[in-house]
């Protein structure tokens, strides 16, 4: 990875500011924190969900239930990929999600296929009263009629570029980079 191919577009402070605003927006949209459950999509969505939970708990003083989803088994492209991907864990709050307001949290919204998979998986766990979609970066390029409710930042992405969200647990720092792919992988 050359520096030339990787341009930071959000540093830690920018991400935290965005997360703070997203947390307020979610609470406002939901008219409070009643029955609110944050569900991160593995893997980086889970870290962002935890950041949002901390923000909301700090601002509202309420405990927020959270969990995470691994959508691998609900992907629509499993027939075309192989060797098969490693499966992460799925864990939802013990009280279930029936009649709750569930927030799906993911790092980057692109084609919408991950969100489709997450919706289907959530439905197999119960019947939430409402599902919100909250993403740190919306990079456009949707292939399904899926739109986010709360967005950290919209990013214009060229054909040979991709957006990477970095989290401390996996990448050693918090931030968002715009990465230009090497020619052969584009």
């Amino acid at each position: 990875m050359h520096d030339l191919n990787r341009v930071p577009i959000m540093d830690e402070r920018a991400v935290l500011r965005a997360v703070g605003r997203m947390a307020r927006e979610l609470v406002e949209r939901n008219a409070g924190t009643d029955d609110l459950i944050m569900v991160g999509v593995q893997r980086r969505g889970s870290q962002l969900a935890e950041l949002l939970v901390r923000e909301i708990e700090k601002a509202e003083g309420d405990r927020i239930a959270s969990g995470h989803l691994d959508i691998t088994l609900y992907r629509d492209d499993l027939r075309a990929i192989g060797p098969r991907p490693v499966i992460g864990t799925t864990k939802l709050p013990a009280g279930g999600i029936d009649d709750k307001a569930v927030v799906i949290v993911d790092d980057v919204l692109y084609t919408g296929r991950t969100v489709r998979a997450a919706l289907n998986e959530l439905m197999d766990f119960g019947r939430p009263s409402r599902i919100y979609l909250c993403v740190l970066v919306d990079r456009g390029g949707r292939e399904l009629p899926i739109q986010p409710d709360v967005v950290g930042r919209h990013v214009e992405v060229m054909g040979d570029q991709t957006v990477e969200v970095l989290v401390p647990e996996l990448d050693g720092r918090l931030g968002v980079d715009l990465v230009t792919l090497p020619k052969e992988a584009a």
């Binding site: 691994d70 691998t72 088994l73 609900y74 499993l78 027939r79 075309a80 990929i81 192989g82 060797p83 098969r84 991907p85 490693v86 499966i87 992460g88 864990t89 799925t90 864990k91 279930g96 289907n120 998986e121 197999d124 766990f125 119960g126």
Partner: protein
């Protein structure tokens, strides 16, 4: 990107020819599948549209049902074929049966057969994935994997543990799959058995032979107690079941002399009062029901990993080929 560039191949015939890394992939994937059986809707759509045939040439309740649960929880379509009720009873060969099934466009075959090597024989002759559910006295790889998973669950690791397999080693495919799997993952393996039920040359595999059950109990962290098939007595391998129990039976009294807690595994079905006493089978260190639960998760993992679509289309497969 390459979290796992390991090719697992088309079939699971045995653990003998798998690497430690490949075995770990099966176990780690099984770990993730455990949770699905705890969901309100115990089903994920990952094998939707796949047709799986359970082809059983030998009676089996536990293994067949475990595979069937695994298949259904992955949304596959399943057909069960038992020999007594099919053309197999009319003398059709194994390959003819499988080719006829393939002509009906199936994707995977789970096969249990009385002949050692039947699974490999079949795997080499049909396009579908073949999973060995036990072939003669050769291997029972999913049982081996679930035993490994159960040990790992309760001891946190397999490497460095002393595991002793007790009972009829000679006729046991479970023993063979266990020996291969345990050795590859770095366990110390021993067998404890009457001389008549010990295959010649077993020590060449790298296992220790313990003559007395008391020695085994003193040495082991884990005892995997095998079923003594009652036919063995008629064939003259053991003088009587009572005699077997008196000399090799795993009893509470014997376990009480152990220096440490010993995990007790048994692949089932048990002969209570023969190879294992009831108070051990139902005791606090018995993993027997945990093994059954893990069996479903392990089989889900195997089905999921082997059913991998069209690898030639995948980027990861291209890089794996180069390696």
């Amino acid at each position: 990107m390459t979290q796992r560039a390991l090719a697992l191949g088309k079939d699971l015939v045995g653990l003998e020819h798998l690497s430690a890394e490949q075995i770990q992939v099966f176990l780690d994937t099984a770990e993730a599948f455990k949770e699905i059986s705890e969901r309100p809707i115990k089903k994920v759509p990952v094998l939707r549209g796949k047709t799986i045939v359970n082809l059983f040439f030998e009676p089996s309740t536990r293994t067949r049902i475990s595979f069937e649960f695994a298949e259904k929880r992955l949304s596959a379509d399943t057909v069960n074929i038992a020999t007594t009720a099919s053309s197999v009873a009319k003398g059709e060969t194994l390959v003819d049966t499988a080719r006829n099934l393939e002509a009906m466009r199936i994707d995977m075959v789970v096969v249990r057969h009385w002949a050692s090597g039947a699974a490999k024989f079949l795997a080499e002759r049909i396009r579908s994935n073949v999973i060995n559910a036990g072939d003669g006295a050769h291997e029972h790889p999913t049982q081996g994997l679930l035993d490994l998973l159960t040990i790992r669950d309760h001891r946190g690791r397999v490497a460095g543990l002393n595991v002793c397999i007790v009972g009829d080693i000679l006729h046991s495919r479970v023993a063979r799959s266990n020996i291969w799997g345990l050795l590859k993952l770095g366990a110390n393996v021993a067998v404890c058995s009457p001389k008549t039920l010990l295959p010649p040359g077993i020590a060449d595999l790298g296992v220790t032979v313990l003559r007395r059950i008391e020695e085994a109990i003193e040495w082991a962290d884990v005892l995997n107690v095998l079923r003594l098939q009652l036919e063995r007595m008629q064939a003259g391998y053991v003088p009587s079941l009572r005699e077997y129990n008196r000399v090799f039976g795993v009893s509470k009294v014997r376990l009480a002399r152990a220096q440490r807690e010993i995990l007790i595994l048994h692949p089932g079905p048990m002969n209570r009062g023969v190879e294992i006493d009831s108070d051990v089978a139902d005791g606090p260190h018995s993993m027997i029901l945990a093994q059954v639960t893990n069996g479903v998760a392990v089989r889900m993992a195997v089905l999921y990993l082997l059913a991998g679509g069209e690898p030639e289309k995948a980027e990861a497969a291209k890089t794996a080929e180069g390696a």
